[in-house]
């Protein structure tokens, strides 16, 4: 089987799916292939933060301005997966009190609405803040769900005619007359795709994709670890008012609070360690005293693909680059790298501009004009339906006739929602179902709902064991306090199924 498209996109993160949506909306024939599941790389392993740009205002003004502009666009087109919580920058008692004097004008220059407030007022709106904070600034940060953002891009791209495939790794790719031919898929399900242009949006794996065509990209992988706490410890994003550093952002994210990050040289697939968790919590204690006794349920590490020209880690700019590899002798290959989740749409627009030029076609970008998923403002009177509306947008209403028996209590996912997504051709394992519903992401870390997910998918103990193995990697670094009790309890329960959820297996 061989298909032919104008543009083949490799990588199903926010950027790749954003490009697929952008090009499809411009009328191009597009195929996107993702080796694993959508949002399974850096897209799904960050803070879930919609930057106002304030974090970079002092040190990286280009990124700051990009974030400010794109943040405002996303608040318009991705309402279904954004909670506009607002953000607060606070300076802890040991931070440099003068920093605010550089911060406020820098925000002004980048076009960010930043308003200094009284520290007493800050503690009224965020009661858990340390009594010793010295300054507080309100900014328009927000919380965004990157999984649903990427999935929203996928459905929007499909509605505009794109072919979008997950679990379809590129096995080989070669240049043929006037374009490229790629072999994609696993085992016996390989297929050939011919494309005029290939877009490399593989994130941390972009170097490997480029290497298949003999090109090298100066990419450095920066590891960032984050800790998930159960429940809302803060109502809005809380940032440290200091130059970007470790453990200085708390994001209220759906039913949790995410603390991050670290920054160190790493590689794709790196795991969070308990030492990193301890370091992050110790840092956050300066702003949110008592957080060390709060319940950490999980830790994870993301691989930031930073464009490294020598400077790496915190020093590297968070801006992005679209690389036309014609200069490397591979005309028709375009790579996009760097950037932030917040700027994914702009990255997609710039990349798509370059692709359209290669294709010799002209159509302007429309991604900022149309909502990714339709979102109806009118709230429903049912809790489960509301939870679904904030995951899937207006289309969630279609799920209302299905079973309302709870499927996952932590995340308020019904059996009906599970069964609906289990029947999607995109969903082949329990992890896929989790990313489409959030079932299993809550504080019991899939203690009970994994069984419901497996049964919705007609899968058994082996698949459950594999899924628990994946969950365990994130639980292991936070095995203390209440989560330790939780895991002991799970071990006891799961014995009945012959499952050892602490066994990673393969």
């Amino acid at each position: 089987m061989r298909s032919r498209v104008e543009a083949l996109i490799i990588g199903g993160g926010a950027t790749g799916t954003g490009i697929a949506r952008d090009l499809a909306m411009r009328g191009a024939e597009v195929m996107l292939v993702e080796a694993g599941d959508f949002a399974a790389g850096a897209t799904g392993a960050n803070h879930g933060m919609l930057h106002s740009g304030a974090r970079y205002a002092v040190t990286d003004p280009v990124s700051a301005r990009e974030c400010a502009e794109e943040g405002a666009v996303l608040k318009r087109i991705a309402r279904f997966c954004i909670e506009d919580t607002g953000g607060l920058f606070v300076s802890a008692s040991r931070d440099d009190a003068e920093y605010v004097d550089r911060f406020l004008p820098a925000c002004g220059r980048a076009g960010i609405r930043a308003e200094e407030i009284d520290t007493r007022e800050a503690r009224e709106i965020e009661p858990c803040l340390d009594a010793g904070i010295k300054a507080a600034v309100k900014v328009p940060d927000a919380s965004i769900d990157p999984f649903f953002l990427a999935l929203g891009n996928v459905s929007s791209a499909r509605r505009h005619g794109a072919t979008v495939l997950n679990h379809s790794p590129v096995r080989r790719i070669r240049r043929i007359d006037g374009g490229f031919e790629a072999v994609i898929g696993r085992g016996g399900r390989e297929r050939r795709v011919a494309a005029d242009v290939v877009i490399n949006a593989a994130g941390a794996w972009a170097g490997e994709v480029a290497a298949m065509l003999g090109v090298s990209i100066p990419l450095c992988i920066d590891k960032g670890t984050l800790v998930v706490f159960n429940g809302r410890l803060v109502n809005r994003l809380v940032n440290r008012l200091r130059p970007p550093s470790d453990g200085d952002i708390l994001v209220p994210h759906r039913t949790a609070t995410i603390l991050g990050t670290t920054s160190s040289a790493g590689a794709a697939g790196d795991r969070a360690t308990s030492a990193e968790v301890e370091r992050l919590i110790a840092e956050a204690e300066a702003v949110l005293p008592g957080i060390k006794e709060s319940r950490a349920v999980r830790a994870y590490a993301g691989a930031r693909p930073l464009l490294g020209g020598g400077s790496a880690g915190r020093g590297a700019s968070r801006t992005f680059q679209v690389i036309d590899h014609a200069c490397d002798g591979v005309d028709g290959l375009i790579s996009v790298a760097g950037g932030k989740l917040t700027t994914f749409r702009l990255m997609a627009e710039r990349t798509s501009d370059a692709v359209m030029e290669k294709l010799g076609r002209a159509a302007r970008c429309r991604t900022a004009d149309e909502e990714i998923e339709p979102f109806d403002d009118a709230p429903s009177s049912d809790f489960d339906l509301e939870a679904m509306r904030y995951r899937h947008g207006t289309s969630a209403a279609a799920l209302s006739p299905f079973s309302t028996v709870p499927g996952c209590g932590c995340e308020a996912v019904t059996r009906g929602e599970m069964e609906h997504y289990a029947s999607s051709p995109d969903v082949s394992d329990i992890g896929d179902l989790m990313r489409r519903t959030r079932a299993g992401m809550g504080y019991c870390q899939a203690g009970l709902c994994a069984v419901n997910m497996a049964s919705a998918m007609d899968q058994g103990a082996r698949e459950l064991q594999r899924y628990y193995g994946e969950r365990w990697r994130g639980v292991e670094p936070v095995l203390f306090g209440e989560q330790l009790r939780q895991e002991m309890f799970k071990a006891h329960l799961l014995k009945a199924y012959g499952i050892d959820h602490t066994e990673e297996g393969r």
Binding site: F229, G231, L448
Partner: protein, 340 residues
């Protein structure tokens, strides 16, 4: 610790003991774990919860069952303040509180000394809804030679106002009561809710009248006797059992067992009467269904009288009809030889 309810490990014990969940079903009342723990972690979705939130009777059976001893009742009440609809009853309580210092407008004044050593705290419901019981309890204490008194100017303990989120008003009431309570040698009340609130907010060792009768007066000094053979059943009020103290209800049993001529029968169904947590005013239908279960159980056991050491239970159980319901202390008073 920030947000203690976040320590849940999902064992399900709380869900399995909740009387409202058992009676109404999950679709109508999703249970304590769902309301106190799971959905409290959500934000925008919680606007849909006002109906189930008003159905919690704050019986605290969930808390007793919880292996992590999570403050589930407080967590539900906090959710109610944040996301529940303010009921008419709540507004009325606040108005009354501001005007009279009581959540219910006082109807009559009690006959009691205004000075003494044992402060008897009538409580709003006690004074307004079960006035004769409160009077009987005071008379019983006085008849034993106790220097019982009710101070002028007492106000509501503040518990119902805290539960509807009116912390400032509750604080105002607390400070009115503070000097009165501090001046007393002992503080006694017939309302379990008042006893616990006075302990919590005023820091005084307020006793339920049963504790005082049993420990200080002692059963022997009460000289109780029933003039005829009488079969009674004893209801265990949730707030007496789980917040005042686990042994107080045993005192009640022993006091009753000491009365010649009295037969105490066990009921086949123990549990909440439905009268707490504001349910009787917000959801009278539910409160009545729960009360019926208790009263029917007493009738099946052959009881002529159902006794309850809590004014809320007395009022709510009394609505069901079928079996006579009496406040325990006033019942004991009616058996007192020194009185007759």
């Amino acid at each position: 610790m920030l947000h203690p309810e976040n320590r849940c490990i999902k064992c399900g014990a709380c869900q399995s003991v909740c009387p409202v969940l058992r009676l109404e079903g999950r679709e109508t009342f999703p249970g304590p774990r769902r309301l106190a723990v799971e959905v409290s972690r959500f934000s925008r979705e919680n606007s849909t919860l006002s109906s189930p939130l008003e159905m919690c009777t704050s019986c605290a059976q969930c808390e007793s069952a919880c292996p992590s001893r999570l403050p589930l009742t407080d967590a539900v009440m906090l959710m109610r303040v944040r996301h529940g609809a303010r009921s008419e009853g709540g507004d009325r309580m606040l108005r009354n509180s501001r005007q009279f210092g009581r959540t219910i407008a006082p109807v009559s004044s009690m006959r009691a000394p205004s000075e003494g050593s044992t402060l008897f705290f009538p409580g709003c419901v006690g004074e307004a809804r079960t006035a004769s019981s409160v009077q009987a309890a005071i008379d019983l204490l006085l008849s034993t030679g106790d220097r019982t008194y009710v101070p002028d100017g007492w106000s509501c303990c503040g518990s119902p106002l805290e539960k509807i989120g009116e912390r400032r008003e509750a604080e105002r009431l607390r400070s009115i009561n503070a000097p009165l309570l501090e001046a007393a040698e002992a503080v006694v009340t017939a309302c379990p809710g008042c006893a616990v609130q006075l302990r919590r907010s005023n820091g005084v060792e307020a006793l339920h009248v049963l504790e005082y009768l049993y420990e200080s007066i002692t059963p022997a000094r009460l000289r109780l006797r029933s003039s005829r053979l009488l079969t009674v059943a004893l209801h265990s009020p949730c707030h007496l059992l789980r917040t005042v103290g686990p042994h107080t209800i045993d005192y009640a049993r022993e006091l009753l067992a000491s009365v010649p001529g009295l037969r105490v029968v066990d009921m086949d169904d123990e549990g909440c009467c439905g009268g707490g947590g504001g349910v009787a005013s917000a959801r009278p239908d539910l409160a009545l269904r729960m009360a019926r279960r208790r009263v029917d159980s007493a009738a099946r056991a052959g009881a002529e009288v159902l006794l309850a050491p809590c004014p809320f239970c007395v009022v709510n159980l009394g609505r069901a009809g079928g079996v006579e319901v009496r406040e325990l202390t006033s019942f004991l008073a009616s058996l007192s030889e020194s009185r007759s």
